[in-house]
């Protein structure tokens, strides 16, 4: 139960970093929208869970944030990827691809391959 949440949080953090990497500085709502568009239902509900993740990334120094005007001239907090965040993203991406590749190979394997 607890572990599943952690995995999701980790995934969410990776998505946040990638989104900021691709789109540049963005406010919380914008990040939520992009993730929703790309990942479908992962963030279609409970968008609020994004904010603790953003806070955590900021405390780790992966993102920086500041108040700024949104497209509709509304006050919003904009998040920006830092150098630390970029290298973190790079490391996480490598990890993730490696894990995904290993898992993929396990799924492809058939009983005759192991004989």
């Amino acid at each position: 139960m607890k572990q599943k949440k952690d995995v999701q949080q980790g995934t969410l953090a990776l998505m946040v970093l990638k989104t900021l990497d691709v789109l540049g500085p963005l406010h919380g709502y914008g990040i939520a929208r992009r993730i929703e568009q790309i990942s479908g239902d992962l963030l279609s509900v409970n968008q609020g869970t994004l904010y603790p993740v953003l806070l955590r990334l900021e405390q780790e120094g992966a993102v920086e944030s500041d108040w700024g005007p949104s497209e509709n001239n509304r006050r919003a907090r904009f998040y920006r990827l830092t150098r630390v965040g970029r290298s973190l993203l790079e490391a996480e991406r490598r990890d993730w691809e490696q894990t995904a590749a290993i898992i993929a190979r396990f799924f492809e394997v058939k009983s005759e391959d192991l004989a």
């Binding site: 406010h27 919380g28 709502y29 939520a32 279609s44 509900v45 409970n46 968008q47 609020g48 869970t49 904010y51 603790p52 806070l55 955590r56 405390q59 780790e60 120094g61 949104s70 509709n72 509304r74 006050r75 919003a76 907090r77 973190l88």
Partner: protein
Amino acid sequence: MRALKRLLARIRNVAASRRGDERLREEMEAHLAMQSEENVRAGMAPAEARRQARLKFGAVEAVREEYHAEEGLPILESVAQDTRFSLRQMRRSPGFTLAVVLTLTLGIGATTAIFTLVYSTLLRSLPYPAADRIVAIHDTRISGQSTGGLMSVPRYFDVLARNRSFAAMGFFFFDQSTMIAGNRLPMAVQAAGTNAGFWDVLGARPMLGRTFDAQDDQPKMPETVVLSYSGWQKLFGGDQGVLHERITLDGAAATIIGVMPPSVDAPSGIDMWHTAQFPASGWNYRGEAVRFINVLARLRPGVTAAMAQSDLNRIGVQLQSQYPQTDGMWRFTSESLRDDRYGALRPALVALQLAAAVLLLIACVNVANLLLSRASARQREVAVRRALGASAGRIARQFLTESLVLAIVGGSAGLAAAWLLVHEAAAKLPGRLSAPGTVEMHWPVAALAAAVSILTGIVFGLVPAVESRRVELNTAMKRGEARVGGSGNRFRSALVAAQAGLCLVLLVGAALLGESLWRLVRSPLGFEPDHLLTFSVKLPWDAQNAAITNFYDAVQRRVEALPGVVAVGQISALPTRDWHLRSSFDADWLPRIPNQPAINAEDRSIAGNLLGAMRVPLLQGRTFTDADTRLQQSPVLVNQALAQRFLPGGNPVGRHLLAGGESHEIIGVIANIRGTAGALSNPIGPEVYWPADSPGASAQGRYFVVRTQLPPAALVRSIREQVHAVDSRQAIGDVATMDELLDQSVAQPRLNMAVVAAFAGIALLLACVGIYGVVAYFVAQRTQEIGVRMALGATRSQIAGLFLRRAMVPTVAGAAAGTGFALAAGRLLSSQLYGVQVDDPRIYAASALALLIPVLAAAMGAALRAARMNPLDALRIE
């Protein structure tokens, strides 16, 4: 790295009590607004748009919670919360809190106070640079009694010349001196003769001026003096201008060249050091009369204590073959300076520390018991909190925090109490413990007290914490059903047994020490100590025999003539003084073996009417007459121990002791005088008494013993006047009554006994309170059952017996186990005991009674309350 960054950010947030609530609220507002606008653009009605936005956002409270958890240190916050809750709990039940805090104050206070003693003596480094490199070298007889480690001067110079282990060597000897400063009256001072090397060994810097150098220590150089801090204060009022002042010391001119800081206390309690000015060579006489120096040495770099000892062994063997007659029976031993000073105290201190630890354990058991009872009473609270979603761990943490808070409060109070006690009582401790700066509370002691508090908090807090996990929600929620299972009761019985056992250990210790002190004080001394005034007089060391005899004769006659004086005697050293002079003899009735004299005995010189003044019984023969002092080969008196050991059943009167080619006739046998060579508890060995005024005796320093009908203090002034009248350059020193000397001599055993007895008393009280509490708890728990039993015809005595058994079975079992522990622990005490065996069954029987009777009374009190219960009330309690 990232985790660290996060932790730091969190700590910063907590420290600045920064809350992201506002920021989160604003961000959420913005988020919802943007989502709503989006929804409106997609064609929703504004109200619906806003509702959908909320739904999509999710549970705001949950997000806020998570956000908050990310932001701060949740554990820290719950600790703060628990602490606040604990303090509130403490305020709400002041009786319980007071009981716990007081119990802990006693336990931790006692442990801390005793540890202050242990740390000050056995652990703290001595106040000299690299003090662990300083060793004390003792001259030790290969068999039989030594002279307290004192070395003879020629042997010192032999070691100095032949050793390969020591960077510096020094010595000191005690010297009762008479000082005349300016135009003041002569004063008796405590001095120590030392050499220049002594200061190199200690490595201590003077506060003012300088110490002796090798030049000052040459024979026939002008005498120089270094004052101790206390001597400087006492004799010169702490005057800075004291340097270069010229004084007269034992009739010779001397110059004050320095003042030492208070920390330099080698040896302790002296007023000054003066140069010994011993020549390094030309010591043809190597006998017992020059065995009077205490030797210290500093190890050369790279040399260990063991290497130094084997070096000393080598020199010892060389000297044994070189001088078989004088050195054949002697070897060198060495120990660290700390052991030399405090080694004798170690067993007593270890025993006291153990006693304190046992008391602390009892206190912990008691507190655990109290907390357990309370935890039972709070089961419904626990059940409710569990039902509302608190995890078992969270509640256990709450209980642990509560006990920790109690422990810290109790520990602080204990530390404060110990500090006060040390502050007040340090100067009143026996022996060298009372020297200023010896026993003080230092940071490591306070740190230990803190550690012990926290540890005890954890230890006794774990019990209710573990118990709280056992709570069955279902039953506990139903009123009156909440019960810790039978295991809780077994645990309580175990606590009772532990308490009883530990308590018995302390009681046995107290009984052993008490009995030992009683025997020490009551066993016959060999003299009558009441109405005796004692004082010392010291003539210059170069005084001539005739002058010495005339002076002491005159003083003797004048003091005898004072009103109220019954008898006056003189002796070279008083009982209870740690003073040694021994000789070896052959006897004309024993076989003679070359270089192995048959008898080794303590020597004392006496004059005047010593036996009459002290009322020492003369068992056989006669005492000295004036005619005896004129004989070239003095006759001697011996004590009963010598006669019994070397001539059992025979009469030594008329036989002879042989030494150095002389023959000394034994003219009488006197009773054994206890404490002749130090502590009263020392076994009594052979002793030989010489006439102090015989030719060649040269007894410059003597103690007077005056038996008086008046209060002894009333005589002091007139005695001082009489001595001054005989010789205006002389003073009297060491004025004390014999009762005072005996009192000082038993101060350490008395302290041991008092401390352990106090601990045992407290422990007994705690045990009674604890056991009463347990029985009362059982009674409260089984009120209904009592009602039913009574209704079914149980008598009151049966009911009382039921609970009495519950208390007494574990108590007796615990006491039995405690007896085993006490037997083992008693061995630690054996070196502290006098005239009582560690396994004396009477001691154990008495201690068991002392434990069982009050405990029985306490348990009876609680059990009778159960028996007096009205069965109707008991049944109606539900």
